[in-house]
Every structure is written in C-alpha cells, then in structure tokens.
C-alpha cells in the first residue's frame, strides 16, 4: 500500500528529475508561456549565448502592451510599447517558439488563451513570468509565476530548482446562492485567510461548491490564488475538465485522448491525503463582494460598510487603516452601496471569458450605463463568440466601450488603458494595489455582474436587486 498523495504531490513527484544536497528539487517544466515582459529573460539567454532547450514547449503571446482599440501604429500608446511587442515576436521567431501573433484571432491574454486552446492540461507543470499563472491550475496542473531570471533558466534548461512548497486545502462547502459568482467565492476566501494566508503553500480548492464550478469559473478562482499569497492554486481534474478539453486544438486526439484521460483520472488527491494546512468556507454564506482597500484581503459583502479606523484599538492597525481610507478617498463607516463609482472595467485574466461577458450582458441588457465602461475580451475567439451571441450589441446599446482587440488592458494599465488619478474604478481584475490601474487610481474589485450593476447605477449596487429583462 503506497502512502496517500495529494494532487500536488503526485505532479511534483512525476516531474522531479533529481534533488540536491540542500533538499531542492529539479522540476521538469511541461509548458512555458511568455509575453512582452519576458524580454529580460531573452536578453539573459542570448547574452550568455544559450539556446532554448525545448522551443516546442514555449508559447509566446503578446498581451500586456497590445492596444485594445485596434492594431494600427496609432493604436499603440507610444513607440516603446510597440517596440516591446515586436521584440517578443522577433524573439519567438528567432528561437522557433510557438507564437500567437498580433493578427492571429487566437491571440489574447495568456491565461485565457492557454486553457482555451487546450495547451494547458491536467497534471502539467506550467510556468510563466507572470504571477497570475496560477490560473492554469484550474485544469488540474501545477502552475506558478516566476521572475525573469527563472524564465531564462526555463528557456535554457526546461527545468527549475524549487524547494517543495507546503500544501493547503481550501474546502468550499455548500452551494452558492443566485447572484453569487466564482469571483465572490475567491474574494470571500481571500477575505477569510488573508493576503498572506497561502504564503509558501500550494492551494488545492476542494468541496462541493468547487466541484459545481464550470472550468471558466474555476479559472477565476485559481487566478487569484496569488492574491492569497499562494504559490499556486489547483483543482482536481474531473468530468467537467475532460468535457472542457476534449476537441480543443492542442488537446490530445483519438487514441491519445483516451490514454491521456486515463492518466488524468489518476491525479485527484487520494482520499486520505494529508495537507499542511486546511481552511474551509461555506458557499451559502458568501454574498456579492466588493473590495474597499488596497489589498485584496480588504473585502466585504455589498451590504456592509467600510471600517471606521477610530474603532480600531491597535495603533499600528489604525494607522494602516487610515492610510488605506485616505488613498481610497472613503469616509469611515461609509456604506459600500453609498460609494459612487467613476468608471468600470470588465476584462483581465480573472474575468474576460465568454461566461463573464454573458454575466455582464444579462445586467446591461436594455440598460444605459451612467459612467464610462470599458469591456475588453480575453481573446480574439471570445470576441468573435460574443459577437455571434449578440453580446456586443447589448454592450454598445448600453453605451459600453466594447474593444475589438484582446489584452490585459486596464488591469495593469500599461497599454494606454488606465484609470486616472483619484478616479474610482469598479474592476473585474485581480489587484487593488495602490497605483495598479494607474497612478492614484482607486480600484474596487468585483464580479462582472457587480461591475455591470455599478455601470448602470453609478454606484455599487447589489446585483441581486437589479431588475433584468
């Protein structure tokens, strides 16, 4: 009888090449995604006269600096961003990497495209020079973000040295009520365990409420694992995973599919597998959530009020709270539903998939937005599908700025789509850090439905009370 293993332990073991005297493991990497900011890594590689060991395992997809209004020279915010995009394309060609180039309609946000194309599969080790690589764990792989030096190491060796992270299981019991989305579930989890709650750990999300999620919803949950401080987030592959993957361009086909599926079915954590840390959340208690501060852990249900620093006894905590309130321009104890919003962003690797757009469209159908609202699809294929379903008409009729090109856009604000100083944005992205969406930007993280509701009313509104057509 072998020792019961978790999903994480199985993948770790299957990819262990060797270990050194200091106890670090040399891991084989199945998939590597790179984007414009991987230029440091290519410079390091070429500077040392090194070659890419397995070009077939790396996928280059420009997403951070690409314009969303179009692909003409004038669509770029400046020459530097255009040069950065061109640089990725030329590095990909020079090293014979897989490339989804600008005019390729499969192109989009890496963390959207990888799963959509079936490049990301269960049981794989997946890395990218981007912290939201944790997204890919939704299909049952071990996926994590790395820095430029490590990207260069992966390009040169297809491996990485890693100390074995600890494991954590977050069990989400029960059922979500109507109007509560996957985004609210992960915000609820982060609110409970904190922005460093998963630090040093790989989280496996488990429980009935997780099993009930679609793959797109699982991607949203795993995406924000890094916001709980976790190295990675993962969900056991199951029938939902296999249904999602089957027939996708890069998924195994025919007899290969059968072999792969048989193997993937052995991956879920054994019944008695143990975890270094456990947490649990009751889905029945989760409500539509809104962040009020400058860390994703600063999150409350829509019906709540923001904290009052004067009620905080600890001096240090009180000072920290005051600083956050000051940055966010909020009154102590202000009801969240009293917060006026200046603009809305629906998009990013957290929430730009077709289900997210449908969710927003239900709320926006037949309505008019009161504030500037930007919707950016996660990939060219999602844009196409949204148009086939007529979602673009709903958006345009509501006065939304519906963008033709996919990309990271206003989540990180480096392609020209950014939030102005002291402007308040209801955003479906993943980070409400100071200055994340632009210098002085005030970000409130919400689900696509809640973002759409804020767009219609100009203030945060409980989407469960919205009348929809």
């Amino acid at each position: 009888m072998t020792r019961p293993q978790s999903l994480f332990e199985k993948i770790w073991e299957q990819h262990s090449i060797t270990s050194n005297e200091a106890g670090q493991t040399l891991l084989f990497i199945d998939r590597h995604y790179c984007h414009e900011l991987s230029f440091h890594a290519f410079n390091m590689l070429h500077g040392n006269d090194r070659k890419v060991r397995h070009p077939e395992r790396t996928f280059a997809i420009p997403d951070h600096y690409t314009p969303t209004s179009g692909l003409k020279i004038s669509d770029y915010v400046n020459d530097d961003t255009r040069a950065l995009v061109k640089n990725l394309v030329s590095n990909a060609k020079r090293n014979k990497l897989n490339l989804f180039d600008l005019n390729d309609k499969r192109r989009g946000i890496i963390h959207v495209v990888g799963p959509e194309q079936g490049i990301t599969q269960p049981g794989m080790t997946i890395v990218c020079g981007d912290s939201h690589t944790s997204t890919h764990g939704a299909l049952g792989g071990l996926a994590f973000g790395i820095g430029a030096s490590d990207v260069s190491h992966v390009l040169a060796t297809q491996t990485l040295w890693q100390p074995k992270p600890k494991s954590m299981r977050v069990t989400v019991k029960g059922h979500r009520s109507i109007g509560v989305t996957a985004k609210d579930v992960i915000l609820g989890i982060i609110g409970k365990i904190g922005a460093a709650g998963g630090s040093g750990h790989v989280i496996e999300y488990a429980g009935q409420a997780i099993k009930n999620l679609s793959i797109e919803e699982r991607l949203t949950v795993c995406n924000m694992s890094i916001e709980a401080g976790a190295r990675a987030g993962m969900i056991a592959p199951d029938a939902v995973t296999f249904d999602y993957l089957k027939g996708r361009p890069y998924a195994p086909q025919g007899v290969n599919w059968d072999m792969a599926q048989e193997f993937w079915s052995t991956l879920p954590s054994d019944r008695d597998a143990s975890f270094d840390k456990e947490a649990s959340v009751d889905a029945n208690e989760i409500e539509p959530m809104v962040t009020w501060g400058t860390s994703p852990e600063d999150v409350l249900p829509i019906g709540a009020s923001v904290p009052d620093p004067s009620l905080e006894k600890d001096q240090k905590q009180q000072a920290a709270l005051r600083r956050k309130m000051d940055y966010m321009g909020l009154r102590p104890g202000q009801a969240i539903s009293d917060i006026k919003v200046d603009r809305v962003f629906i998009g990013s690797c957290t929430n730009s998939r077709i289900e997210d757009l449908r969710e927003a469209a239900i709320v926006l159908n037949g309505q008019k937005t009161k504030i500037p609202t930007l919707i950016v699809p996660g990939s060219g294929l999602i844009k196409e599908q949204a148009e086939q379903e007529g979602l673009d008409k709903i958006f345009i009729n509501a006065g939304v700025d519906w963008r033709p090109e996919a990309g990271c856009s206003m989540c990180i604000g480096v392609n020209g789509d950014f939030v102005k100083n002291e402007e308040r944005c209801a955003s479906t992205s993943n980070r409400n850090f100071e200055g994340r969406q632009g210098r002085g930007a005030r970000t409130h993280l919400v689900s696509p439905a809640m973002a759409a509701a804020a767009a219609v009313n100009g203030c945060f509104t409980d989407v469960r009370r919205m009348e929809t057509e």
Binding site: N20, L84, D130, S149, S199, N256, E434, R439
Partner: protein, 207 residues
C-alpha cells in the same frame, strides 16, 4: 555574474506597512526599461515622489538619517503581487542588499536570490523590535551575516535566521543558476527519455 553576499552592514530603514507590493516597489509603467538603464531611480517611485516629482516628506526613505539606507526592515508579506523581477532590480540598483520581514511574496523571494539581494525572514517580535530601534535612532546600522545566518540589531543583539542551504550557497558564491543546472545534464536527459514514454500522447514530446 551576480554579486555575492557574505556579510553586510548598512543603514536600515523601517517600513511599518504590511503587504508592500511590487507595484509600490516599482510601478508597472516603468517595467519596459532594459536592464542596463538605471532602475535605482525608480525605487518606491509613487511612495517617494508626488506627481510633480517632489519628495513626499512622510516617506521613510526621504527622512533625515534614512536617505542612505541599504537595508529595509519591513513587516508582513513584503514584495507580494506580481512576478516582476524589476522590483528586485530597482532595489538592488538603489543600493539595497537585504530586506528583513516576517514574510515575503514567494516570487519576489525567489527573484531576490537571482540578483544578490538577501531576503531574511524573522519572527514578528524581532522584526517589530528592529523597527522600533530604527525609529528611535534614524541612521542606525544593522548587520546581516549570511555565513553565520544572523542579524545584528542596532543594540547589538544577535538574531539567528533560517535559510535554504541551496539558496545560501548560491548567494555566498554568486553562482549562475543555469551553469549550476547544466552540471545535471545527464539526469535531465535521462528524465526526458523516461518522460517521453510516460506521456506518449504529447505530440510535442517527440522532439
């Protein structure tokens, strides 16, 4: 070649805030610079300078005594957020050699070792004590000794810290990571051969 780290003594600055994220260390709009540009001038840009590029008085590194800081004593979860190695480049280029905190963002922690920056994890009581001493005596120095695995406080108390032996070794010698891994070429090649059979459905694995 990375700068080795053995023992370093320098002025230390206290940063009391939890969750100092990589966007605060290096705002995203400065990520495009090639490595040879002077990253150091952008460190903590939006905490340090206002929109007119004037110094923000309250920020610790703008205060008398802390301007020449080479070590930071932070709080919880320093360097959380994005994977940008630029956050480490900017600290290193600005002259910082070590960050002491109760915890770090995992990716930032990893990236530090690739650039000769030593992140030190100490218990909360110790980190708070260090910050208190620094607040009381701006300009006070701290010593971080990687060989001995100790931190010496301004009051000369010595605190031991734990660190993974592999990372310690690499930092002590300033070793290039890829060069080190190449020594395992036989193991990697043997693994790849075995792995190709194991995941035979992978069209890519035939290369």
């Amino acid at each position: 070649m990375m700068k080795p780290f053995t023992r370093f003594t320098g002025v230390a600055a206290p940063m009391d805030q939890d969750n100092i994220d990589t966007d605060q260390i290096l705002p995203a709009r400065h990520l495009m610079m090639p490595r040879d540009e002077r990253y150091g001038s952008y460190v903590f840009k939006d905490l340090r300078l206002n929109e007119e590029e004037k110094e923000i008085k309250d920020f610790v590194l703008n205060k008398e005594g802390f301007r020449s800081s080479r070590i930071i004593v932070a709080a919880r979860n320093f360097g959380c957020g994005s994977s940008r190695e630029g956050a480490v480049f900017t600290l290193v280029d600005a002259g910082f050699r070590s960050i002491i905190a109760t915890s770090f963002g995992d990716i930032f922690y990893n990236n530090s070792f690739n650039n000769g920056l030593l992140p030190v994890v100490l218990p909360e009581e110790t980190v708070e004590l260090l910050r208190q001493q620094l607040h009381q005596e701006p300009g006070a120095e701290i010593t971080v000794d990687l060989e001995e695995k100790t931190v010496t406080a301004p009051d000369q108390s010595v605190y031991p810290f734990e660190i993974d032996a592999h990372r310690r070794n690499r930092l002590l010698k300033g070793l290039d990571a890829v060069g080190y891994t190449m020594q395992f070429e036989n193991e990697i090649a043997a693994f790849e051969k075995k792995y190709r059979r194991q995941v035979s459905w992978e069209p890519n694995s035939t290369n």
